[in-house]
Each structure stands twice: as structure tokens, then as C-alpha cells.
């Protein structure tokens, strides 16, 4: 029951979000969902109490463009997703190198259900 969802590709993500910034959209947060072979990233926005979302699906292991250059406040949450899911963001303004939310001795990417290697194998099967 999500309304106002715009599906975009990873390449056009930055442009879509850069277009929203001057229109007065407030960036709420970024949600990452483990979709098996892909990462599902949902960017939530608010304008006058109305929610809208931008959804990007990227294959696991691919690099996602960071939007922290557009919305400065996105840097923290991108670091969090990088920690908990192991998604790599390209162009992060502040990069904690996977040590933002997790301690040095903590396991890497604890929120992942299907590890990247398995996801790649599954994607290979699908292609065959």
C-alpha cells in the first residue's frame, strides 16, 4: 500500500533525486531490503506531509551512486546501509568504511539474508 512510488534505474537515480531537491522535498530516509539477488533501495521523501518514494533495484555486488552530494543528510543513512547490508555507495561525502554502526569486531553486513556470492550464483542460474 505504498503510493507515489517512482521506479528508477541506478544510472538515473542521481538525476531523479537532484530534481527533487529544489522542489522542497525533504529526504526522510533510505530503506534497504534484501530482495534475494538484488538490493531494493527505497528513498523516502516528504513534502507537506505527503509521502513519496523512489525505488531502485540493483544486482548484489553492484555499486550504488550516493546521493549525499545532493542531500547532505543522506550520508549517515548510506553509511548505515553500507554497514548493515554491505551495499557499496560510490561518492559518499563521509565514508566510515563500514564502521559507522558496527564495532570493529562485529560481523560484516549482519542484515543480509542471501550473501552476495550466493546471490551471484542464483543470478547465473536464472540467466542459464
Amino acid at each position: 500500500m505504498l503510493h507515489n512510488v517512482t521506479e528508477v534505474s541506478a544510472e538515473s537515480l542521481r538525476d531523479t533525486i537532484a530534481a527533487r531537491f529544489p522542489q522542497g522535498y525533504r529526504f526522510i530516509t533510505l530503506t534497504c531490503v534484501d530482495g534475494g539477488a538484488t538490493w531494493e533501495l527505497l528513498y523516502h521523501f516528504d513534502r507537506n506531509y505527503e509521502l513519496s518514494h523512489v525505488r531502485v533495484r540493483v544486482p548484489k555486488g553492484a555499486v550504488v551512486p550516493s546521493i549525499s552530494g545532493i542531500y547532505a543528510c543522506a550520508a549517515l543513512v548510506e553509511n548505515e546501509v553500507q554497514d548493515l547490508f554491505g551495499v557499496t555507495f560510490e561518492g559518499l561525502t563521509v565514508n566510515y568504511e563500514r564502521r559507522f554502526m558496527l564495532a570493529v569486531e562485529a560481523p560484516l553486513a549482519p542484515m543480509v539474508r542471501t550473501p552476495v556470492a550466493q546471490a551471484a550464483a542464483r543470478a547465473g542460474e536464472m540467466r542459464m
Partner: protein
Amino acid sequence: MNNATTSTPRRTVIPFGPQHPVLPEPLHLRLVLEDEKVVEAQPAVGYIHRGIEKLAEVKDFQQNVFLLEHVCGICSFIHALAYCQGIEELMGVEVPARARYLRVVWSELNRLHSHLLWLGLLADAFGFESLFMQIWRARERVLDLEEQTAGARIMLSTCTIGGVRRDLSAEQVGQVLRGLDELEREFDMFVPVVIKDATVKERLCGVGVLTQRQAQELGAVGPVARASGIARDLRVTGYAAYGELGVNPVIETDGDCYARTLVRVRELYQSLLLLRKALRHMPDSPIAVAVKGKPEGEVVMRVEQPRGEVMYYLKANGTATLERVRVRTPTFANLPALLAILPGCELADVPVITLSIDPCVSCTER
């Protein structure tokens, strides 16, 4: 002498927290200083990451109500409320009127208790010990009211999917109303000190200014945004019984620590007003409806916490466990604002400025 003024001053790095006398929360800031001026601040969290989002994928959707309540030790009820409203929207459950009013009652008691806690800590941070104790005595009354009505001081555990788990008798309603009158008398005694005292103003006025534009761009929420002139209060959207009760956001325009204090102080009185209205106009109806079936679909639910907007993203797949539970707490949204106002301030003001966003780190890290 000339040399010293032209060369760049030496930079010092000071770790602020995670153990700091004024902050009970383990927030760590890496402060880069030039003399006594902060030029850069970098946060480090992760001292109390508990993995609640992960655990919420293991527990079933009914148990999650109690789990998610433990995200925050201050606004516990409101976390459960956000989650329950999300599941109710997924399952198409209509909550009875009395339950909606009771939800407002406990939400506002949570807000009173949270703002009093913060106000006390603020008094402590600028070294006004006796004021801190006066405020916390008033807070104790709120905790008593919570225990009287919900059966616990902090973890109310009264919200459930489809309504609430406890009803208030007419006698209890009277007790709470009398308690609120007493509270108001206590407020009237310490509030003038907080907002008029010259020493207090000296520490707060003009310190840590967040402009309206910054607040908008950095996505600040709650009292931090409202103190910078942004009328953003999700109670306006009318969830629970707020629609019937009517809420006007409390706004200040200065954007400094004093404005943030004023917003919270005025919200104390606003909460009293809402509580009285909700208790006096509580309709008669069952307090919960039976919920059958399993949730399915995606939903985003937002409600207003004492610290600002909390966002829940829930993804369910028709089984008892949820596929994803995402919590974006208000402090997480206010951290960028804090990092924006720290550069340029004096080291001695850092504790008060940090406290002025009301950081709740256990919320932030979940």
C-alpha cells in the same frame, strides 16, 4: 606576534563522549578545534547497536509490538503505536474510538515525561542543579500517572494491534485529571525560572543557531525544526484521535538553543491541554477489535514523537513474520542538523548544543 596571527592556528582533536558527564547517552563526537572554537564535528555511533530490526524479522508480528517498544526507553508507547498503526493499515483494521483516545492519552503522557526529562538534563548541563531536581520531581508525577493507568512506569505495553490493552475507569480518569492539575501547578513554579532567568538565557540565547533553510535541507524534525520556524508536526495529520482534538504546531523562529527550549516548554502546556481534552471527551466503545489473518504488503507509517517524526517501513508477505521492519528515529534525522550547528561554536557550549537536539542514541542505533 605578527607571525602568530598570520599562520593558521594549530588544530586539536577532542573526543566528546561516549562517556560524558552531561550526556547519559553514549554519543561520541570527534571535535576538531582551533583554540576554543569548534571547526568540525564528526559523530560516531555504534556503542549500543542492538540489532532490533534484525530481531524483528524473527519474532512474529504480534510479538514485535513489545519488541519495538524497547527501541526507546523514553517514548516507548509511541514506537508501539507507530508499528501498530502500520500493521492496522496493512490489514485494514478499524480501531475503536475509545482506543484512539486512549492512545492519545498515553502518547501525551510519554511526551510530558520525555520533555521534562530533557528539561531537567538541560538544567543539569548548564549547572543549575536545584532546577534539575525540581523538574524531575514533576517528571516523577508523570511516571506515577503512567504506572497508575498502564501498569508500568516506562514500558507501558498497552498498545496492541487493533486497539489498546487497558481501559481507564471513570475513577482513574478523575485521578489523572487531578494529577494534571497538580502538574500544572508544578510547571508554573519552575517554568518562569527556565524561560526568564538571566543566567539560563545567557547560556541559551544565540547559541547553536539553525536557520530555517538549514533545517529544511538537512531534514530536521520535531522541536528542532519547529524552533527554526518550520511548522512540521505529524499530529496535524490527525492519526489516533488528534484529528478530533485539533493540534496547532508550536513554532519559534530564532532557531537557537533558547528557541528549542521554548518550543518544548510550550509543548508541555500543549500536552496538558490535549490530555484534558482527550480525557473529558473520551467516547464509550470497546477498546480493541479482534485481528484475524496475517499482514501483507508494504506500508510507511509516521507519527510524532517527543523528539520528532518517527518513520516505520514495514514489509509483510502474508506470513506471521515480517520481511523487513525499518525504523527511522527522530534523532537520526536531527544528527545532521547538530553537525551543521556545531562548527563555529565554543567548546564550552558543545554539551548544551548537543543536548538541545534531545539526542536519544539508543533510538538512533536500534
